[in-house]
């Protein structure tokens, strides 16, 4: 087991290098010289020597005067000691900005993921067991609709209806905590945060909820028609035992791999939700960095999300072996 883990972790390295190298090369090689652009934007681009000097200084500072591969190597060497460099926007260390943003986005996504799994797995199972019943048909239709609803629209509608304006004024317009909540007790602060996060969590949740429920239903239907389920019933096992022990365990396999496919999409989803609800998380940070062409921040975010994705795939592979003992880890490469 440990041997397998070490081997897998070592295999992550080339993939990670591939991802970060491609990202770096793309930013460097893309048309449009961002240093000039930035200097020009700030009105620093004066004619003659001074303007050129500023550009040269900037380029040197961010390693843009070197060839792509050398620049990448410099970046990578600093990454090994977890030095992500400084943000071009405000000169603060990138690591510091990410340390602020990452927990917010992670907790948002973990909360919504837990809700998704708690609701949709039982819902999907019941749907599959009562296939073609009224419940199944109605829930299938509702889930299909939820599945096709664009999240940015849902987010806007929720804001429009529930956050002030001409309609209801139940939730705040954005942010994660009220200004005045600084000296609240711990419990009151939590309540305040929950109040802020209610709408964003709904926006993040409903899509995954629809996806996972449909998925659970489909895999459960596959399993329930297998012969070993008939055998279990023929043995005289209770329906509860047949469903929960024999059928459900076997439908877990695809549900586990799903985690690995959901992870890479998290950052993209966060960009939209966080921009709608003004949440200072990774999505917002990423979006601002992209607008400002802040290379150190973009690279850092790309690396972190690549690492999270790779770990997600690894964990899914390990869980695969846990839920289905037939799959031997060593054999799967």
């Amino acid at each position: 087991m440990i041997k397998y883990l070490v081997k897998r972790l070592l295999l992550l390295l080339p993939t990670f290098i591939g991802i970060s190298l491609i990202t770096y090369a793309m930013i460097r090689l893309a048309p449009g010289d961002y240093t000039t652009l930035r200097a020009g934007l700030q009105g620093e681009l004066k004619a003659g020597a001074i303007g050129t000097e500023i550009i040269e200084q900037e380029k040197k500072l961010y390693g843009l005067d070197k060839p792509v591969i050398v620049g990448y190597w410099d970046w990578f060497k600093r990454l090994v000691v977890l030095d992500f460099g400084v943000s071009r926007k405000d000169g603060r260390p990138v690591a510091e900005r990410i340390a602020e943003a990452l927990p917010i986005t992670l907790s948002l996504n973990i909360i919504s993921m837990i809700i998704v799994y708690i609701i949709s797995i039982p819902g999907g199972i019941v749907s599959a067991l009562k296939k073609d019943s009224l419940y199944d048909r109605v829930s299938s239709l509702v889930l299909f609709i939820l599945y096709s609803l664009p999240s940015f629209w849902v987010g806007l509608l929720l804001l429009m209806v529930f956050s002030g304006g001409d309609y209801l004024n139940l939730f705040p317009l954005g942010g994660i905590i009220s200004d005045w909540a600084e000296d609240f007790s711990f419990f009151d602060r939590m309540v305040n945060i929950a109040w802020h996060l209610a709408l964003p969590v709904i926006t993040l949740t409903y899509g995954g909820f629809a996806f996972l429920s449909r998925y659970t239903r489909a895999t459960m239907l596959d399993v329930i028609n297998q012969q070993y389920i008939m055998t279990a019933r023929a043995k005289g096992l209770s329906e509860k035992r047949v469903v929960l022990v024999h059928a459900f365990r076997n439908s877990l396999v695809p549900l586990v791999t799903l985690m690995a496919t959901i992870l890479p999409g998290l950052l993209g989803g966060s960009v939209i939700v966080e921009s709608i609800f003004s949440i200072p998380g990774m999505g917002m940070l990423a979006f601002e960095a992209i607008l400002a062409r802040d290379i150190p921040v973009i690279m850092a975010i790309a690396s972190i999300s690549a690492v999270l994705t790779l770990l997600g795939i690894l964990i899914a592979d390990i869980l695969y072996g846990v839920v289905d003992p037939r799959i031997r880890l060593e054999a799967r490469q």
Binding site: P31, Y34, F144, S148, L157, M160, D166, P264, L266, S305
Partner: protein, 327 residues
């Protein structure tokens, strides 16, 4: 004895039985029609203008003497037959900004007093165009790359599979945003970037199918007859691997339309004044507290379009999946 039916005809028969999928298909075709005929559905020029004993068709031909005339609401004498939405997508009216739906503007107006219905109709073109071209780009790439991996196997397969694994780990939406920020957002760039980043799914499907088909007799037969690799891959094997690719492409159009509108929503899509649904929705944020129509209408259009493609995709999937054949 009935004659053997072809694969695609059987699939179509199955598809037709699924009412929801058929409704989706009708909707998709209707959207096509709207996109194609947008300038004839929303325009400030009448279809027919009969005055001074002459019959004119201003929407089809240019008449110098009619330049700049307003044909709406009986402003001119004679017989006028206007299109259903008598405004263009760029025509603004600063006296009527952010107006709720009314008889004059059926879906209301935006912050520049432009007719929302006209903008929605013209915006259909962007969604349809980007959906189709981006998916065409990535299906082509995916088919070629996947076919190479599946057909040749060995080292080629290993290199391509590793490469696909790397690409899958990219945060796609973030990547698309970054590239667009660097090369500048425009209709062509959006299509290219979505196209170039989206091919991995198709490549994996084609690779899998090719690995299966490769061992079949007809492939060996065509090789034995001296067919070149290119002919074996594209003429003999590809048609047999196409069905799952087309299903995936149908869902792909839905997700491409979603990505495009998300990009426009963040300001990285098609640039104004070209109307796009995501952009209209994005503009609505400034008036969200009262202008419900500006939020409701474009979002609903995006939602319906995505639903339609997803319905067609599902119907298609059921139709070609032998396991789900209904008795």
């Amino acid at each position: 004895m009935t004659a053997a039916r072809g694969y695609w005809r059987t699939a179509w028969r199955e598809f037709r039985r699924n009412r929801l999928a058929l409704a989706g298909l009708v909707l998709v075709l209707a959207l096509f029609a709207v996109a194609l005929f947008a300038p004839f559905i929303a325009s400030d020029k009448p279809y027919i203008y009969a005055a001074d004993g002459r019959l004119r068709f201003p929407i089809l031909f240019d008449y110098p003497e009619l330049e700049g005339m307003n044909f709406r609401e009986g402003a001119v004498k004679g017989f006028v037959l206007m299109p259903p939405v008598p405004y263009t997508s760029s025509e603004y009216d600063l006296d009527a900004i952010v107006m709720p739906p009314s008889a004059r503007h059926v879906l209301g107006t935006d912050e520049q007093g432009r007719d929302l219905a006209a903008r929605m109709i013209h915006g259909t073109r962007v969604s349809i165009l980007i959906g189709f071209i981006a998916v065409f780009i990535y299906v082509t790439m995916g088919v070629i790359i996947g076919a190479l991996a599946g057909y040749y196997g060995g080292v080629v397969d290993m290199v391509i599979s590793r490469f696909i694994e790397v690409i899958i780990c990219f945060p796609t939406f973030f990547l698309i945003l970054t590239i667009l920020a660097l090369v500048g957002p425009s209709l062509v760039n959006v299509m290219l970037v979505i196209g170039v980043t989206g091919w991995t799914g198709i490549a994996r499907i084609v690779r899998g199918e090719f690995l299966k088909i490769r061992e079949m007799e007809f492939v060996q037969a065509s090789r034995a007859l001296g067919a070149r690799d290119r002919a074996v891959i594209f003429r003999h094997m590809l048609p047999n691997a196409l069905a799952p690719v087309l299903v995936s492409a149908t869902f792909g159009i839905a997700s491409t339309i979603l990505i495009e509108s998300s990009l426009s929503f963040l300001g990285f899509g098609v640039q104004p004044p070209t109307p796009s649904w995501g952009d209209i929705l994005s503009q609505s944020r400034d008036f969200m507290d009262f202008a419900w129509w500006l939020t409701l209408v474009p979002g609903f259009a995006i939602f319906i379009t995505i639903t339609a493609y997803n319905l067609v995709g599902e119907g298609f999937q059921d139709a070609i999946d032998p396991r789900s054949v209904r008795k």
